[in-house]
Symmetry: C2
Subunit: 420 residues, 2 copies
C-alpha cells in the first residue's frame, strides 16, 4: 500500500525493520478488517459491568492477580521477621503503589490504634515531650517522593547470581510520595541542647528497632511521615507514623516510631553493630554506612518478564536511584558492556527518588547480555560487582549496588547471570 | 522551665500563643512522664504482628476503614451509571491512591481480558490498523502526573450549597502518574491523511462512550495509558487501556478505549451535544468547552473533617489545579474574603497536575469563613460562583470552578455555605 500525499504515516514501530519496503506495520499490528477480535461486538460491550458500590476501596482487576509482593522463605527465619519484595517487573513509572510497596519487619506488622499513638522526645532536650498523632499534624507538612531501599537489597547476590527475578534481586525498594512534618520542627519544640549530637530513633513494635542518627542529618531533611501516596501509611509501613531518612538505608526509617532520644554519642544498637555493618576481608567491619549509592537495574525484560513478542521493536526499561541526589544518566548495553547506549530518563527527576529509564531498539532475535549503569550528579558511576568485591571482599551483605546482568536467549527468556 | 544555653528550642507550635511565657508546648504536647500512655510497654510492643504472608497485595489498616470512595445515590439513576467520589478530606500530598481514585462509568465497570483487548484505528488513515495491548507497549512510553476532573465536578453546587462535604462537592477528580504511549506515535503508525482534523475516541463498554477530539490536541499531549501510579489501570479506570487528554474534561478520557476514527469534522455524539454542553440563559448552549480552568478548594478543615484540637496552631490545607498549565499561587481567606493570605504550595508543581497548598495560623476559636482562590501562570484567577452565574446563568451543570466557602463554627465544625 502506498502512502497518500500529505500523510503523517511514519511506521514508527517497524520503520527500521522494513528493509524491503513491505507493509511493515503488519508485524506488530494487524490491518483492521483482518482481525476477527474487532469485527463483532465484544462480549463486555454486550452487558453491564460492576456498579460503584463494588468499589468503595478499589482493588486491582482479577487479571492482575499475579502482581503481588513475594517473599523468599529461606531468607529469614519466620514470616513475622521477613520481607515483602516489590514486583518491579510488573511496574512502570516511578510511583510504587502502596499495596505493592516493599517492607521489612522484624516482629510482624503491628496494629496501633491511632488515638493511642504517642511519640516521646527525651534525652538532651530542654523539655521532654510526648506528642499525639494530632499534635504532629499541627506542624507544617511537606510532601516528598523518596526511594526507600533496604541496605540488604541485592545482598544475596554478593557472591554470585542467586535469585532469578528482579523482584528478588532488587525488590527491597519502594518509591512513594511521603507526607509528614520535618524532624527539625519537632525537635525544636523540645529544644535540643548544644551537646545533643545524635538521635536515637526507636520503633514501637516488639522488635524495638532502634538506630542512631547524626543530629546533622536529623535536622537536615528527615521527616516524621504519616501518609504515603496521599493516604495513611499502611500498617506494614509503620502506621500511624514512621521516620523518613532520605537517601539512607531503609533500616533507619524506623516504623511505628515511638521515641526520639537526643544524646551526645551513638548508641551502638544491635541493628548498627551485629547487623547493618560490612565485614571486610581483613576482619574489620565498616559501620555507619548509611548512604545508598547510585544503582540501577533493568526491570523489563528480566527473568520474571521475558520478551514475548519476538523480533522487532523492543522496549527495555528499568529504574535508577541514588542517595546522593539526582541521577544524571543511565547507560544500557545489549552485549555485556562492549557497547553502551544512553537511555532516556522519563518522568520527574527528583532528589533521592527513583528515576525511570527506557531504551528502545530493534531486536534481531539473537541472545542479549543486558546491563544498565547509573551516573549521579556527583560524577559517581555505578560499579561492577567485581569492583565492589575488590574493595570489600566477599563477606558483605549490605550495599551491593553492582551492575546486574540479564542474559536473554533467542526465545526472549531472561536469566540472572554474571560476566567478568 | 528555663531554656538551657545554646538550646535550639523554639516552641514552634505554640510560640505565638504563649503570651504569658508559660510552658506553651503543654497545650499541644504533654511533658514526657506526665503521659501514662508512654510509661508502660504498649500492648502492640508485647506481641508479634502479622507476617509477610498476610500482605501479598497490601490493604489499608482497619483503623482507616472509613477512608473510602462514596457515591451520591440520588445523583444518577443506577449504581452502574454512577460516580465514585474521591475522599479528598482524608488525603494529603498530590497523589491519589488507586483504590480511592475518582471514576465515573455509564454502563458499569467492565472486565476485559487483556489478551483479548484490541484498539482499532480507522477512518482517514493510510492504513487502518488493529493493535493488541502488547503492540501498544512497544511504542516509547512516557510518565506524567495529570489531574482528571469530571466537567460536572461541583455541578450540583451551581445554584447554591447542596452537599456537605468536599468529597461530594469536589471529589470528581483524581491525580495519578499515568504511564502510556503518545497518541501521535500510534496515529503516525496508521498515517493520518491531510484532511484528518478530528478524532473520534470510542470506549469498549456497553455505553459506547464516544467523544470528538481535535487532531491538534490528539497530536500534542494525548496518551494511551495502561498504568496508573505504577501498576495496571484499575478496571473502573479503563483497564487495560484508556485515553489521557491532559487538562481537558474527564469525559473525554475515554476508558476501555477500543477505537480511534480519524475524520474531517466532529461527530456530534450524545456526550458532546445532549451532555457536556452548557445551556446559557438565552437558550444557546456552549459546546466543546473542553479545558478545565483553574480551581482550588480547602480540603481540611471541611464538613467531613472538622477541627478537633481546639484553639491554637491550625493547618489549613487544600488542592489547586488548572488545565491551562501550572498553578502560580493560591490565596486563603479566614474571613470570607476581607483579608487574603498567600498559601504555601508544597510538593512538585507539575503541568496539568494537582498542587497541594497549606496555610498555617493560630486559631482563636472564633468562627471562620474559609475560602481558597487559585491563580495560574496565564494570569487567570479562580472566579466566584456569582461571577460565573453572571456570565452563564443558572442552567449550567458543567465547569463550575467557583470559589468554595466553608463556615467553621467555634466548635471547629465546618459547613458548606455561600456568601455574596
Amino acid at each position: 500500500m502506498s502512502e497518500s500525499k500529505g500523510s503523517t504515516r511514519r511506521s514508527f514501530l517497524t520503520g527500521t525493520l522494513a528493509a524491503g519496503g513491505t507493509l511493515a506495520a503488519a508485524s506488530v499490528a494487524k490491518a483492521a478488517g483482518g482481525d476477527p477480535a474487532i469485527l463483532n461486538v465484544q462480549p463486555w460491550a454486550n452487558e453491564l459491568g460492576d456498579g460503584v458500590d463494588a468499589h468503595p476501596y478499589g482493588m486491582p482487576t482479577r487479571y492482575e492477580s499475579k502482581v503481588i509482593r513475594r517473599n523468599v522463605p529461606w531468607l529469614t527465619a519466620d514470616p513475622v521477621s521477613s520481607i515483602n519484595f516489590t514486583p518491579l517487573h510488573d511496574l512502570d513509572g516511578i510511583i510504587t503503589p502502596n499495596g505493592l510497596a516493599f517492607e521489612r519487619h522484624h516482629a510482624g506488622s503491628i496494629a496501633i490504634p491511632p488515638h493511642k499513638y504517642r511519640l516521646m522526645i527525651n534525652g538532651l532536650v530542654d523539655q521532654p515531650l510526648v506528642f499525639t498523632l494530632e499534635d504532629l499534624k499541627r506542624f507544617p507538612r511537606y510532601n516528598k517522593v523518596y526511594f526507600l531501599e533496604c541496605a540488604a537489597n541485592s545482598g544475596m547476590e554478593w557472591r554470585g547470581p542467586q535469585l532469578n527475578g528482579v523482584q528478588f534481586t532488587h525488590g527491597m525498594i519502594h518509591n512513594v510520595m511521603y507526607t509528614g512534618v520535618m524532624l527539625r520542627d519537632i525537635l525544636a519544640e523540645a529544644g535540643v541542647k548544644t551537646e545533643g549530637k545524635w538521635l536515637l530513633a526507636e520503633g514501637g513494635d516488639a522488635a524495638g528497632m532502634s538506630r542512631s542518627i547524626p543530629m546533622e542529618k536529623a535536622l537536615d531533611d528527615c521527616m516524621i511521615a504519616f501518609k504515603m501516596n496521599g493516604e495513611a501509611l499502611r500498617a506494614e509501613n509503620g502506621y500511624p507514623a514512621r521516620l523518613v531518612v532520605p537517601g539512607w538505608e531503609g533500616n533507619m526509617w524506623v516504623k511505628w516510631i515511638r521515641r526520639l532520644e537526643v544524646g551526645d554519642q551513638p548508641w551502638e544498637q544491635r541493628e548498627e553493630t551485629s547487623k547493618y555493618t560490612d565485614l571486610l576481608a581483613n576482619g574489620v567491619a565498616r559501620r555507619f554506612t548509611w548512604q545508598m549509592d547510585a544503582k540501577s537495574v533493568i526491570t523489563n525484560p528480566s527473568p520474571q518478564a521475558p520478551i514475548t513478542h519476538g523480533k522487532g521493536r523492543t522496549v527495555i526499561t528499568g529504574i535508577a536511584w541514588t542517595g546522593n541526589g539526582v541521577i544524571s544518566g543511565v547507560d544500557v548495553t545489549l552485549d555485556g558492556g562492549i557497547n553502551w547506549h544512553k537511555a532516556r530518563i522519563d518522568g520527574s527527576s527528583l532528589d533521592k527518588s527513583m528515576h525511570r529509564f527506557y531504551y528502545e531498539f530493534d531486536w534481531d532475535g539473537k541472545p542479549l547480555l543486558l546491563q544498565s549503569r547509573a551516573h549521579d550528579t556527583t560524577g559517581y558511576v555505578q560499579p561492577t560487582k567485581d569492583q565492589l568485591r575488590a574493595i570489600r571482599g566477599t563477606n558483605s551483605i549490605y550495599h551491593n549496588n553492582g551492575i546486574q546482568t540479564w542474559a536473554v536467549n533467542s526465545e526472549g527468556e531472561a536469566e540472572n547471570v554474571e560476566i567478568s
